[in-house]
């Protein structure tokens, strides 16, 4: 179990490296090697570390532990085919973690990163709507039951394509360099993680790797169906390539535009959910 966890973390970091590399190539830069994110994590772990004098020490450290902890939990829910609602809850809690990262240091840059993460919460509603649509089709929210449904009826990617688009958007909003990543915009230095350096940052990198792995795997499990391990990894790499293209070809939006677009998507998704609920599955 622990071995899977570590492998998932490293694979997630590798995916983030691939993401970076592809963005660089699209922008005609050589870019770092694809294992750069793993090196990054190790590099940070060898840095001298302390806690800023202005920070609240318990929260400053505790939030790193919580960040790794919640995504570990998400990983095991994924492995055991548990409820997708719990994974969704953990996804939303990541917002609180970002908020904690930003506010606990006392730095103004971190604070603005945290506040931005709070106002970009609008991105979660498409997620709820897509989950509701999935529930209408599969009559269950357990990952295992959703995968069984897809074995019988074919992938939900085809049956519920708009829901897949909405979830894709939600994953996109958590990707670095994406159009919605206003929480780590360059005008805020590094956004919410500005003041977390050294091993705290290394812990955050672990969390990011695990998060990427879990989110992509959940997307594949929910919309493609059960896959054997090699195909799962191939699918994740494919997905990260698509995400990288989306990130590289779009500019980062201003916080206001980002929230507006997410609200628009939410409205569209609500209409779609209403159609599904009233017309397709009355």
């Amino acid at each position: 179990m622990i071995a899977e966890l570590i492998l998932a973390t490293f694979f997630g970091l590798l995916l983030l490296g691939i993401h970076r590399k592809i963005i660089a190539r699209i922008q005609r830069r050589p870019g770092p090697p694809i294992w750069q994110e793993i090196l990054h994590m190790l590099k940070f772990s060898f840095k001298t570390t302390w806690i800023p004098k202005t920070a609240t020490p318990v929260l400053f450290v505790g939030v790193v532990l919580i960040a790794i902890g919640i995504w570990t939990a998400a990983f095991y829910i994924l492995v055991s085919g548990g409820s997708i609602l719990v994974i969704l809850g953990i996804y939303m809690l990541h917002k609180i973690v970002e908020h904690g990262f930003g506010l606990s240091s006392g730095s103004p840059y971190g604070k603005y990163g945290g506040v931005r993460s709070v106002i970009s919460a609008a991105s979660e509603i498409p997620l709820f709507v897509s989950v509701a649509v999935i529930a209408v089709y599969t009559h269950s929210l357990d990952l295992s039951a959703i995968m069984q449904y897809q074995q019988v009826h074919g992938p939900l990617l085809i049956i519920a394509f708009p829901a897949a688009c909405a979830m894709f958007l939600v994953i996109l909003s958590k990707m670095p360099f994406g159009p919605f990543s206003i929480v780590e915009a360059k005008e805020l230095v590094s956004g919410y993680k500005t003041e977390h350096f050294g091993i705290w940052r290394a812990g955050l990198e672990i969390c990011n790797g695990l998060k990427t792995f879990v989110l992509l795997a959940v997307f594949l499990a929910v919309f493609i169906g059960p896959l054997s391990l090699p195909w799962l990894l191939v699918g994740m790499i494919l997905l990260i390539v698509i995400l990288a293209f989306a990130c590289a070809l779009t500019p980062m939006m201003s916080p206001f535009d980002s929230v507006t677009i997410q609200m628009l998507v939410t409205a569209l998704m609500l209409v779609y959910a209403a159609i599904v609920l009233l017309v397709v599955h009355p």
Binding site: M92, S104, A121
Partner: protein, 219 residues
Amino acid sequence: MINLIGGVPLYVLEFGDELVYFTPYTITLFLLALTFTVLVLISRPEKQVDIAFGGDAYRTKEISVSEMRFRRFMAIACGLATMGAMVTGDIFNFTLFTAMVGITNVGIVAAVKSLHVQDAAYQYGLVALAATVPLFAGAAIYAAVTGSLSMIELMKGTLPAVPLIAKGMLMLGVIGEGMAPFYAAKAEMFRAPGAPYVIMCSLSSLLLFLRVVEIVMLG
């Protein structure tokens, strides 16, 4: 429509008509609320740094001990109310806990000596107060239609179907009380120093929202 959203109840404690139950979903939420409440209990506020952009001037905000005590108390009360809302198996109790989270959320930032923050807290408080109307109304219609407020009974699926208006009102009430996921209205409140306490505002409203999603899917 959908059976067992949050998983099979692992444990049901029936105490008269007050009942408490744990499913894998609610237990996860409960543990998170507990973790953050403990964090609030043991952490001290940070010294928030204010900078004048474009200049070199910066200064730290200090939080006085009495203010810190009051806000910590409010944050812990908020954590306890959130925990209650996570595990309760009674819809009316849930609405009461939700209303309490609304009050304590305002309380967490009310002691901050900043006009911006107090103004935001007041406006948010007005919304929270207004939201108790749909909140209690939703619960009352639940009781009127199904004759029961117990979520376990709702889960069994033997009761009459709950009208969409009751679910909508309950949802609207929770959104108003906790503002999740529309925190934008609360953003001014988050400028207040005292990260461990302020974080309780967003955590509680988020958890409430996650719980109400489960509740409206039950009936």
